[in-house]
């Protein structure tokens, strides 16, 4: 049987970096919620907030709105880094 070789068009596995170290525990930590404007995220986010407080003892939780389907406004991520230890990010709908 005659064969041919073709070249793989897909990208090689991308080296993924962990840009932010994970928090070791949640008790007493400040949690940011980045709400991307979808009702489904609001629903999940509110329940996560309840669960984090009740089960893990997180203290301060603050929601930051980002426009639907958009990147966060300039400076917002810097604010989140300054004000929170960890973040929950709404990615889509």
């Amino acid at each position: 049987m005659q064969t041919l070789q073709y070249l793989d068009p897909s990208s090689p596995n991308v080296e993924r970096k962990l840009y932010v170290p994970a928090v070791s525990e949640l008790r007493g930590k400040r949690i940011a919620f980045l709400n991307n404007g979808w009702a489904s995220y609001t629903f999940i986010g509110e329940r996560m907030e309840e669960a984090l407080r009740a089960r893990f003892g997180t203290e301060v939780m603050k929601t930051y709105p980002i426009p639907t389907s958009c990147a966060p406004p300039p400076g917002l991520l810097d604010t989140v880094v300054a004000e929170a230890d960890a973040a929950v990010v709404g990615m889509a709908n």
């Binding site: 005659q2 064969t3 041919l4 793989d8 958009c70 709908n93």
Partner: protein
Amino acid sequence: MTELVSRRIEVAADARAVFDDMYRRGLTDGLPVIPPTEARVREMLVAAAAAADDLIAVVPPEGGPATVEKLAINAVMAGCLPEYFPLVIAAVRAVTAARFNLLGIQTTTNPVAPVLVVNGPIRGRIGIECGRGCMGPGFRANATIGRALRLILLNIGGCPPGDVDKAIHGMPGKFSFCFGELEEQSPWPALHVEQGCAPEDSAVTAFGGQGTQNIYAAMHDPNGIVHMLADGMRCYGNNGYLRACGAPLIVLSPGHARIFAAAGWDKDRIRQELFERTRIARRDIPTVAQLSVPIYSHYAADEMCLLCRSAGDIKIVVAGGPEAYHITYIPSFGTTEPSTARIS
């Protein structure tokens, strides 16, 4: 000559077997492809005078590195001729510019696709169709360049439909969507000039478009034409109204362009008329809660909802057959801006 580093996959030397194998691996758009052999890929590299390992962009959502080699492989698969390849590279530069919001476009439930508009001398050199039927089917350069970009978004961006591309219905334009502006029959500055290029430059501009809406406006009165066109655009279910942003694209036939020009209307006048006539009072849109939060959700009843931020955001190009019959309106994804790249 640069070594090609991509994995080699061996299959039976048969067109059907190659397609079956690539389809099974999730490497196609569902249509047969040209086998990307090393010889064919090297022809692309020669045409672009580029090194295989040059990094052109990083393609979301996977963050796949779009090296010239990977782009060339996908261009071969799409059926591109080597002389098309510099345009494919430019298209990748255009869609990966931050303003285009490719991450959102790749992963949204919306049926948006990159719409490529080609300007400048390259149109004639490689046979980009700008006239009748330019959006397809039937023209190799248009069809395969648009398709190459789609394969790149799938294979390098890591965005298979269903799993990562969450478009509810998809859209035929996601296979390929590329045409040229018929600059020679336009009375106005070409799109790429409005986007900052010189008239003699070759360039490609990418729009995040939701498909095509045809508007039959067979009349000779400019006021009647914009009235009918604006009514077709005034659809508050389009994403533009959600955030009052985006770049609605109007494709006028040369016939309609002549009618406007003869009456002394320039693009700015058309844009302004359309912007004003597409405003919708808040009271005309349902006030029930939506799953996302539109910008107009807290507007007063008589406050006006906008299709885009300003009249200048509406883009107008001339293309297609000569009769002043049909206008194509390409609604915008909204959270995207047109992005232009020069073709080297």
